[in-house]
Symmetry: C2
Subunit: 385 residues, 2 copies
C-alpha cells in the first residue's frame, strides 16, 4: 500500500516562471506540506510531455535544484502524453511497493503559454500516430470522436455545453484555476464570434486551455505514513494502454478507459456508487461525456443523463471536476495527472476549501494520454486528515 | 530479484525503418527469444530520448503494434537522455519487484540518421542545462571535461586514441555494430583531414556515432524465471542522479558515476575484481577514461593505466566494451542502455559468439544520461545459459 502525505500546486495559467521555476515552487511546497526534509527523499519521478514546447529535453535532474540535499537522488522523467503526470505517480508507486524507496517526490510540469497557439497545437499533435494522423490537431482528433458519437446517438451539443458550463462554474471555487468566469450553457452551445468553431462540432468552449503549471506529491511507504499527520491511501492504481492509431479503435466508445475503470473498481473492491468525488480528463467536453459512460455512470449513448439528472453537478451524488477540470482549471499537460491526484487527495482529507464536497472520503482520478490511449484510473481514500 | 530471460537487438546504423519498425523488430525478437507469448506480457516500458529528432512525441503505445495481444497492456515511455534505456529497465524492475508485473517487455529505440548532423547535435544539446549551456553541443560539453582533465593531469591524447582504437577493434567481432573498420592508435591520436577536430581536444575518432536502432529485453519475476531455459539475474541496479548544470559539478571527476558504482558493488556484495566484463558509456573517449576511474580501476588522473597495462583490452582481466561500445557499435541514444544490458546478458550466458569472453559469469553495465547526470550501474550474473 502506498500513501500520499503531502502536495504542492502552482497556480495554473499564464505564468512568468519557466519549467525549472515551476518545478521548484511545487516541489518545495509539497515537501513543506508533508513536513519531510529533502534529504529523506529516496527518488524523484517527473511527468513532462514537452513535444517540442521547450528546449529542456532532459528535465528530470532539474528537480535537484529544489534542494542541494537532493544530490545523488535518482530522478527520472516519464512521458505518456497528457497522462505523463500519472505515469510519474505510478512509477513512484512501484518503486515504493518494490521497497526501492520509502519517500518519493513526484512532479508534473508543463510550460506552454510562451508559444503561439499554432505551435502548441503542433507540439500536442506529436502525441498522435504520425503515420496516419500527422498534422491532425487534437481538437480535430476529438472532433472525430464527437462526430462519430453524434452520428450514432444524435446531436449532443447541449450536453457538451452543460459540461463546459459546469466546469467553468466549479472553477470559481478554485483559486488555483486559470479561468474564473462563469459561462452560461446557452453561450457554450452556440457558435459565435466569442465562441468560434475550432473543429466542428467542437467550439472554443469545448476545448481545454493552454496553460503553464506544476504540481507535486509526496508518496510514502506505510511505515513512513504511520508517523504523518495526514495520509491518503491509494486504493487502486490501474493503467491500461490502447492502440495508438485511431483507425484501430472504436470512436464512439472509450474502450481503454472503460477497462481502466473496471480494473480499478475491482482492485479497490469498490463500486462506482462508493465514489464521492471524481476528477476526470476533460481535455474536450466530448471526452468528459465519453468518460461518464466508460466509468459506468450511464449506458453507452446516454452520457448526457448524468448531466440531466444532476449526478455530476457540484450538488450531485458524484460531482465531477469540482476543480474546474482541464476546461477551466487549466491543462499544463505534464502537470495534469499530478494535479488531479492532489485535488482528489484534498477532497478526501476535507482540505479542498471552497471546492470541498462535504464528507468526501473516497475519490477517483481518471487521467488520459492521447484519445483514450494511455488510461490511468486511481482510487484514493482519506485515511487521516 | 528480477531476471532477464530474453533479448532482441536490431543492427545499429543507418537503417531504413522508422521508430515503429525498429520497436516491432526488436520486440518480436525478444519475445521469440524468451519463448513468451505476447499475451503473457504484463507491462511495457520504452526508453526513447527524441529531443525533437522525430515527430513521435508519445511513442509508448507503438509497442502494441508488436502484437494485437498487447492491447490493454500498460505501456510507458521513460526519458533520461542517453540513459533512457536504463530508465525503462529500472522502471520495469520496480514493477516486477512491486508484484505489479511478472513479465515485462522493455524497449529502447532511437531514429537519428535521417537528420543532418547539425540537427542531431541540436536535439542532443537539449539534454543540457539550457539556462547556462544552450547552444553547447555535446562534443563541446565533453571537450570541457577533456580540457579540465588535461589541465589537471596532463595531455592524455594518446589514452583517448587507445580507447577509440580498442573499441573499433572490438566491434569487428560484433555483427550488429555500425562500423566494422579497425583504426590504428596513431590515426586516432592525430588530427587529419579524415580525423578532424570536432571540439578541441576531441577529434572525430573521440566521438560516438549517430545511429538508428532498437533493443529489447524480457524481464521476469523469479517464479517465471524458474521455468525459462536461460536466466540472467540482476544482482544490482543502482541509479544516481547529479545536478544538471555543469557549473555545479567537478569536471575532472565523475562523482555521480562513482557513487553509482559504489552503490552497485555494495548492493551486489561484490568488488570490481569479481567482474568479468563491462559495457560502459563511451559517448566520448574522455567519458570512458573518466569511467575507469569512477569504477575504481585506477586512481584519479591515472585512467590511462587501465589501457597501458592491458586490463580493459579484449585480452585483459576486465575487457571493456567488447561490443565496440557507443564508439563503433553505435549510439541510438534511447536504445543504448537496453543494448548494453542485452550484450552483457549475452556475455554472462556464454552467448556472445565472436565477442565472448570465455567463462564470463558476472558483468557490469554503466549507462549515463548527460555528462554524468543520470547514472545507472547494473551488475548481471548468468544463472542459466
Amino acid at each position: 500500500m502506498v500513501h500520499i502525505v503531502g502536495w504542492g500546486h502552482t497556480k495554473f495559467g499564464r505564468l512568468a516562471g519557466d519549467v525549472e521555476d515551476l518545478v521548484i515552487e511545487a516541489g518545495r511546497e509539497a515537501l513543506a506540506h508533508a513536513g519531510i526534509p529533502a534529504a529523506d527523499v529516496d527518488g524523484i519521478w517527473m511527468g513532462h510531455f514537452n513535444g517540442g514546447m521547450v528546449a529542456d529535453g532532459f528535465p528530470s535532474s532539474m528537480a535537484l535544484q529544489i534542494d542541494p540535499a537532493l544530490r545523488f537522488t535518482p530522478a527520472t522523467r516519464l512521458e505518456n502524453a497528457c497522462a505523463s503526470g500519472s505515469a510519474a505517480i505510478y512509477a513512484a508507486r512501484n518503486a515504493i511497493l518494490a521497497g526501492e524507496a520509502r519517500v518519493a517526490l513526484v512532479l508534473g510540469v508543463e510550460k506552454m503559454t510562451h508559444l503561439p497557439t499554432t505551435e502548441v497545437a503542433t507540439a500536442l499533435g506529436h502525441a498522435s500516430y504520425q503515420k496516419e494522423e500527422a498534422g491532425l490537431s487534437f481538437p480535430a482528433v476529438f472532433a472525430g470522436f464527437a462526430r462519430a458519437y453524434f452520428e450514432r446517438y444524435g446531436d449532443k451539443t447541449d450536453a457538451l455545453a452543460m459540461i463546459a458550463a459546469k466546469n467553468h462554474k466549479n472553477a470559481m471555487a478554485n483559486p488555483l484555476a486559470q479561468l474564473h468566469k462563469e459561462l452560461p450553457v446557452g453561450f457554450c452551445a452556440r457558435e459565435s464570434d466569442r465562441n468560434p468553431m475550432i473543429a466542428a462540432p467542437l467550439k472554443m468552449t469545448d476545448c481545454s486551455l493552454v496553460s503553464d503549471g506544476a504540481a507535486a506529491l509526496i508518496m510514502v511507504s506505510p511505515d513512513v505514513a504511520a508517523s504523518m499527520p495526514r495520509a491518503v491511501r491509494m486504493r487502486a492504481a490501474e493503467q491500461v494502454s490502447d492502440f495508438l492509431p485511431m483507425s484501430r479503435r472504436d470512436l464512439t466508445a472509450f474502450e481503454g478507459p472503460a477497462e481502466a475503470f473496471r480494473r480499478a473498481y475491482l482492485s479497490a473492491g469498490v463500486t462506482l456508487e462508493d465514489i464521492d468525488v471524481a476528477e476526470v480528463h476533460d481535455c474536450f467536453t466530448i471526452a468528459e461525456l465519453l468518460i461518464y459512460e466508460a466509468m459506468g455512470l450511464t449506458p453507452a449513448g446516454r452520457g448526457e443523463d448524468a448531466l440531466l439528472n444532476g449526478t455530476v453537478l457540484s450538488s450531485g451524488a458524484l460531482p465531477v471536476n469540482l476543480s474546474g477540470g482541464l476546461k477551466a482549471k487549466g491543462h499544463p499537460v505534464g502537470a495534469t495527472g499530478v494535479s488531479m491526484h492532489a485535488l482528489v487527495a484534498r477532497q478526501v482529507t476535507g482540505a479542498a476549501n471552497e471546492m470541498q464536497k462535504p464528507g468526501a472520503s473516497l475519490g477517483l482520478v481518471f487521467n488520459m494520454g492521447g484519445s483514450g490511449v494511455a488510461n490511468y484510473c486511481s482510487i484514493l481514500e482519506g485515511e487521516r486528515a
